[in-house]
Amino acid sequence: MTALSWPLPRPARRAAFGQIVLNEARLARRQPASLIGGAIVPLVLLVIFGLIPAFRQPAANLGGLTPLDVYVPILIVMSLALLTLFGLPMPLTSYRELGVLRRLSTTPVPPSWLLAAQGVVQLCLALAGIVILLVTSVAVYGTQAPKSPGALMLSIALTAAALFPMGLLIASVAKTATGASVIGRLAFFPMIFFAGLWWPRELMPGVLQGVSGYTPLGAAVEAMQASMQGQFPPAAPLLVLAAYALVFGFLAKRFFRWE
């Protein structure tokens, strides 16, 4: 089996899908690398930034927002990126290495279910991480609450849709779990730079800011920041995210290997 297929679970076997998700959730708890990266690291960064008094003062060069306000969407994007670029491909690659996927393809359950179960677990972790991050930042540090929650959810969904197939593509290119983590890092650091982790987009020179808008994480932060401030996100970042989702979705479907 070489092509990616998404057969819908038959009602009789929903129990099987539940069992796979359950075991993936257990593994995520027992090997908490992605739990830590996706949910705890962004929260720790938020707490550290929150301890800096200057980060809680509105700044003129940020359009009256506090640096903390600017960082909340960046940390949300970071959580999503860590879970999809590391949390997803590393177990999948190791399952292929160990023969777990091959073994599964000799049962009535297709191996694509394991992939779907991974997606469910990573998405749940991401959503939990995002909710905790938002609640903490608003309740403890008084950052702005998302003024347009619907637009924020759409932005998050599109970001996940763009990043998920990138994670699958990493799992396709990498031969081992170690290789997957190396490729994940090579993809993550430039992308998170353009998201503004070290240098918020608002402060980037014009050219860099323009480039950032065309990178997946830059576009994601742009869309989420607009949603936080109550505007429906401009079309440009949403279209950029949708384009990444389509292109990488196609590439992942084309190149994903079960063996």
Binding site: A16, N23, V100, T107, P108
Partner: protein, 328 residues
């Protein structure tokens, strides 16, 4: 007519099962990987309730044959039927009735044995009882253990448990005893006999002659991607036993022709100070006598035969009867 041609007819030698049809039918199977022909014109049929062995050296095409048979690989040519079903077209039905133990498959280190079993159990519509299965396989006390803490033999038994958990009609076991010590291997044999006693057809891939001899009703001997012989183990073993091996250290130099000229000797090999002679008949005495005429004595003489393993088990304790009692 070559042996391969004689055995090419898949229907030859097949005793019809209760349903009157073979459990496994493979006809003219061919599979190539780029230029390498892995399997070429392999045909055989396995009757229901039979233990059928696929025997051959590493790289002979055994695993490719069974991987095609269970639908993991697409053959280039040939037809395969499992209980009348096509493993690729009728994928779902085939996977319900065929249990597989793959040569190289591991499980996530941090899952517990019971969790893996529960998950695989949920895949099948009429699964076996975990308590009973793990009792038979000696894993009953291991349900709470992490996979990574299992020994090699325990992992193999878990792998067999997973092959049987869907109550399959056919069990395909690929090299299930490779890497096990002789005692664990004998335990596995008792287990396979137990599986057959439940009416399951067993296809057993192995490279141990002794294993095939002990377990299989019939054996297909594969070499270079082709079936070179297909017969009962007794008949095959008689052919295989035609060759014996004597290994020794000569007391002084001698010419190989001294031995190759003997009617009993088929081959002479040297490895360091040791000489290995392959041949038939009264090989040991003939070789020692011939060496003596040249003034050479043979030291450290060893006759290679599978009885060394038997001796090992006798010396390390007789668990066989005990295990038999558990599985019957």
């Amino acid at each position: 007519m070559s042996i391969a041609q004689r055995t090419a007819d898949p229907r030859r030698d097949v005793r019809a099962g209760p349903a009157g049809r073979p459990a496994v039918e493979v006809a003219h199977l061919r599979k190539t990987y780029r230029e390498l022909v892995a399997v070429d014109d392999v045909s055989f049929a396995v009757a229901e309730g039979e233990i059928f062995g696929i025997l051959g050296p590493n790289g002979a095409g055994k695993t490719t044959t069974v991987e095609c048979a269970i639908g993991l690989r697409t053959p280039d040519a040939g037809t395969i039927r499992l209980l009348g079903l096509d493993p690729r077209a009728d994928r779902d039905e085939v996977h319900e009735v065929v249990g597989v133990q793959l040569q190289a498959s591991a499980f996530p280190a941090r899952l517990r044995v019971g969790e893996i079993l529960d998950m695989y159990r949920s895949f099948y519509s009429d699964p076996a009882d975990i308590g009973e299965l793990t009792e038979v396989l000696g894993l009953a006390g291991k349900l709470k253990d992490y996979y990574k803490s299992l020994s090699g033999g325990q992992r193999q038994r878990l792998s067999v448990a997973l092959a049987l958990i869907g109550r399959p009609k056919i069990a395909v076991l690929d090299e299930m005893t490779t890497g096990l010590d002789p005692q664990a291997r004998r335990d596995a044999w008792v287990l396979i006999e137990g599986i057959r006693a439940r009416g399951v057809t067993v296809v057993l891939v192995t490279h141990f002659m002794e294993e095939a001899e002990r377990l299989c009703d019939r054996v297909a001997l594969i070499d270079g991607g082709r079936i070179v012989a297909l017969d009962t183990p007794a008949a095959l073993a008689a052919r295989a036993r035609g060759g014996k091996t004597v290994r020794f250290m000569p007391s002084g130099p001698f010419d190989d022709q001294l031995l190759t000229g003997l009617a009993e000797v088929t081959r002479v090999e040297r490895e360091g100070q040791h000489v290995t002679v392959t041949g038939t008949g009264e090989l040991v005495s003939t070789v020692i006598l011939a060496l003596a005429t040249a003034g050479v004595t043979a030291r450290d003489v060893r006759l290679d035969s599978s009885s060394l393993e038997d001796a090992f088990v006798k010396l390390t304790g007789n668990h066989l009867d005990h295990e038999q009692g558990e599985t019957s």
